[in-house]
């Protein structure tokens, strides 16, 4: 000890050529870094090409608005001085006709028509009709009256307000539409009339149904996970296979089995009628409505709750419960105050996993949801595949993504993401 104390303490001092030492260290590790990087390059490229770029371009579509600026830029610019409700001046109509007669490419007017149609229904046919008659217009007479004669919609201030509002390569109008809002003729943002509000209701339904499904999976999954965790490993593993079995079955098969079970003339209703619990005329509607969506999704998402719960519960030693009981706690108090708090990381992980999966769920509500069991993702799919309004689909998707991120942030603030255990 004494001998050690007399030794000069210089171990932590770097030699004079410290810089070159650092450089040498970096150089010696560079090869390893490059090698590690090369290992992940294929995956990185794969994700970049198949995931990040498409998602990015999709998100960009939610604000992308090139049609008006590219096809009728001067008309749109002139609308800056226009005041509703009268139709714009002859100058504006003159410019419009000139621009429509020389589009940047043959398909441009069609795209423009579709784009304005998103804002004002009927605009698409209006533009097509007008485009066909452009050549027959009398260049000596005022275009204003001629166009209004072709279709009186040319006098509609809403049409002109829409064109005016789209006079920018980037727009928030898809997001307005996605939240059931619109601009009135004066360019002010206001709610859609009640009969045309659909997305907010759908968002709300998506969130509360997802929350309800999360709660159901928690209530059903907690006891199962507990049982799996306390059983001897052999029996536990056997039961775990039963939990995992649905994972190995096609989602479509599972969903359609629910149709077989739950439909009005399905197995469950037959059984209830046979048992005399309900009469043949009063068969319960358990599918093609919210109930169907909830039942099928709860079943399908259950493993995502059970697995994180199980992995956390497995680590909680039974001595904690024994200790609590020896200290005077009843079975219930010991469970509630000692066991449950220790499962919270698993509950949090399972809940956030199920909830995030649920708010983006598409196939199951599409098949068993009927009319009122549809979720927002079904609407996104509709706009992607049927109405082809990709901008609106992208805006809805972005809102969903934003909601998940907000949720993640809140969870991180409340619980701490590092406390989350997925297994």
């Amino acid at each position: 000890m004494a001998q050690q104390a007399t030794l000069p303490i210089s171990g932590h001092e770097l030699p004079a050529d410290a810089q070159s030492l650092k450089a040498r260290l970096r150089k010696s590790e560079r090869t390893n870094k490059w090698r590690a990087f090369l290992f992940v390059v294929p995956l990185l490229l794969f994700i970049l090409i198949t995931f990040i770029i498409p998602i990015g371009s999709m998100l960009y579509r939610s604000i992308d608005n090139p049609q008006v600026v590219e096809t009728i830029p001067r008309t749109a610019a002139m609308l800056a001085d226009w005041t509703p409700p009268d139709p714009p001046s002859e100058d504006v109509f003159k410019t419009l006709v000139a621009e429509l007669r020389s589009p940047p490419d043959p398909a441009a007017i069609g795209k423009l028509a579709v784009r304005i149609n998103y804002e004002v229904s009927g605009a698409s046919s209006l533009f097509r009709k007008t485009e066909r008659r452009l050549k027959r217009l009398d260049d000596a007479a005022p275009y204003r009256e001629q166009l209004i004669k072709i279709d009186k919609d040319w006098a509609d201030p809403e049409l002109w307000a829409a064109i005016k509002s789209l006079d920018s390569p980037l727009t928030g109008s898809y997001f307005l539409a996605a939240t059931d809002m619109t601009r009135n003729v004066n360019g002010e943002i206001e709610m859609q009339p009640g009969s045309r509000q659909i997305y907010l209701t759908l968002f709300w339904r998506t969130f509360w149904l997802s929350g309800f499904i999360t709660l159901m999976t928690l209530l059903l999954g907690f006891p199962i996970a507990h049982l799996l965790a306390i059983l001897p490993l052999r029996t536990g593993n056997l039961l775990m296979i039963l939990v995992l079995l649905p994972f190995w079955t096609s989602l479509l098969v599972r969903t359609t089995s629910w149709i077989v079970l739950l439909q009005t003339n399905g197995v469950l209703n037959d059984l209830l009628v046979w048992l005399g619990i309900i009469s043949n005329d009063n068969r319960i509607r358990m599918i093609y409505n919210k109930a169907g969506t909830v039942i099928a999704m709860t079943h399908i998402l259950l493993p995502f709750m059970i697995l994180p719960l199980y992995s956390v519960m497995r680590t909680i030693k039974p001595t904690y419960m024994r200790a609590a009981r020896s200290l005077g706690a009843t079975q219930w108090t010991a469970f509630w105050r000692v066991y449950v708090p220790q499962t919270l990381p698993g509950v949090g992980a399972g809940a956030i996993l199920v909830f995030i999966l649920a708010i983006g769920y598409y196939i199951t509500p599409a098949l068993v949801g009927g009319q009122d069991g549809q979720l927002i993702s079904n609407m996104i799919a509709y706009h992607m595949q049927t109405s082809l309004n990709w901008g609106l689909a992208a805006a809805l998707g972005s809102l969903l993504l934003g909601a998940v991120l907000v949720l993640y942030f809140v969870y991180n603030r409340l619980v701490g993401i590092e406390n989350m255990k997925l297994g």
Binding site: K317, T319, Y320, R322, A323, A324, R325, S326, L327, G328, A329, T330, Q331, T333, A334, R337, V338, P341, Q342, L344
Partner: protein, 360 residues
């Protein structure tokens, strides 16, 4: 010390887990109020099962368990008012140290002020007054052990059970904690039932020790009796070191047994033998054998030193004698002791009383 009716009483208690074999075979045990009793035995000897039956986590298959005169076989664990310290402390990881200590008081519906007061006293008792706001994971093993102890004592139980509480600590800390637990138990006057497989721990802490093997109490005695007067070969072998000879009893008279070992006659104290013709195990503590004794001894044999092992406070000599070559003799490293060399021829001697003739 031993009262007529024990504070804790096992009356013909049996326990079987599978319905085929008995883990505990007919346990009869009386523990006096204020006593520090240790259940000592190898793993699988049934000692922990007995403790768990007393705590209420296992049910006795047969027999009765009494606490303070009341039969408690069917009393739920949380109604027994027995403090317990677990092997790995079982401190609740999601609560602070103070919350851990407050837990037994809260479930008993104590007032806030009283809880705060008692928690503070409990922490002071184990010298952790400043650690109330820490989480168990932020404490060292020894500190966690103290918290577990304080938690088991904070609700003032009359009986505290400890299940190998020092098993996870290193040797030095274990020794400190042994004294600390002993002192606290003495000061509070509580009854302690302590389970361990560490004989040193049992010897230094206990008033009485119950040595378990094969589901039975082999011997129930104070530490000194247990060490100096083991009643059978298992206890002799399990507690402390001992030199053993197997032999045949030739004659028993005047409280002396003559036992033939490797062609020699050893005079031993008959403890657990039936009489002449019986086979026996002779047990002799290494410190009771004398090398080159100056006084005349009834047992005196020629041997040769095989190995000398230096232990600091004492030196151990491995000697070949009476047909065995691993006879151990402990020599204190005292001023003027004999300096032996490997290969030296020596005489080994011992008293009749120190050599006990036990069951085979």
């Amino acid at each position: 010390m031993a009262q007529h009716e024990g504070f804790v009483r096992f009356d013909d208690v049996q326990k079987s887990y599978d319905g085929e074999t008995l883990v505990v075979k007919s346990l009869n045990l009386d523990i006096a109020r204020g006593e520090f009793l240790t259940m000592l035995g190898p793993s699988g000897s049934g000692k922990t099962t007995c403790l768990m039956m007393l705590a209420g986590f296992e049910t006795a298959t047969h027999g009765e368990i009494y606490l303070d005169g009341r039969q408690i076989n069917d009393v739920a664990p949380h109604k027994r008012d027995i403090g317990m310290v677990f092997q790995n402390y079982a401190l609740f990881p999601h609560m602070t140290v103070a919350e851990n200590l407050a837990f037994p008081l809260e479930v008993r519906g104590k007032g806030k002020a009283e809880i705060g007061d008692r928690v503070k006293r409990g922490l002071d008792m184990v010298q952790l007054g400043a650690f109330g706001n820490r989480r168990p994971a932020q404490l060292s093993g020894g500190q966690q052990q103290r918290v577990a102890l304080a938690r088991a004592l904070v609700f003032e139980p009359h009986l505290v059970l400890m299940d190998e509480p020092l098993g996870a600590l290193d040797k030095q800390l274990r020794e400190t904690m042994q004294y600390e637990i002993k002192h606290i138990a003495n000061n509070l006057g509580i009854t302690v039932v302590y389970v361990t497989h560490d004989q040193t721990e049992a010897l230094t802490m206990s008033d009485r020790i119950a040595v378990f093997n094969d589901g039975r109490v082999q011997q129930l005695a104070s530490p000194d009796q247990l060490y100096e007067a083991p009643v059978n070969a298992f206890v002799a072998q399990f507690i402390g070191e001992n030199n053993r000879f197997s032999g045949k009893v030739k004659r028993v008279e005047n409280n002396t047994a003559e036992v033939e070992v490797a062609g020699h006659l050893i005079r031993a104290l008959p403890v657990n033998i039936d009489g002449a013709g019986d086979t026996t195990t002779l047990s002799l503590r290494p410190e009771r054998a004398h090398i080159n004794p100056t006084e005349p001894l009834p047992n005196l044999f020629e041997g040769r030193v095989q190995e000398l092992i230096y232990h600091g406070d004492h030196i151990r000599a491995r000697v070949a004698v009476l047909g065995t070559d691993d006879f151990i003799v402990k020599m204190p490293n005292a001023h003027g002791h004999d300096h032996l060399q490997q290969g030296d021829d020596v005489r080994l001697g011992w008293h009749v009383d120190d050599c006990r003739a036990l069951d085979a």
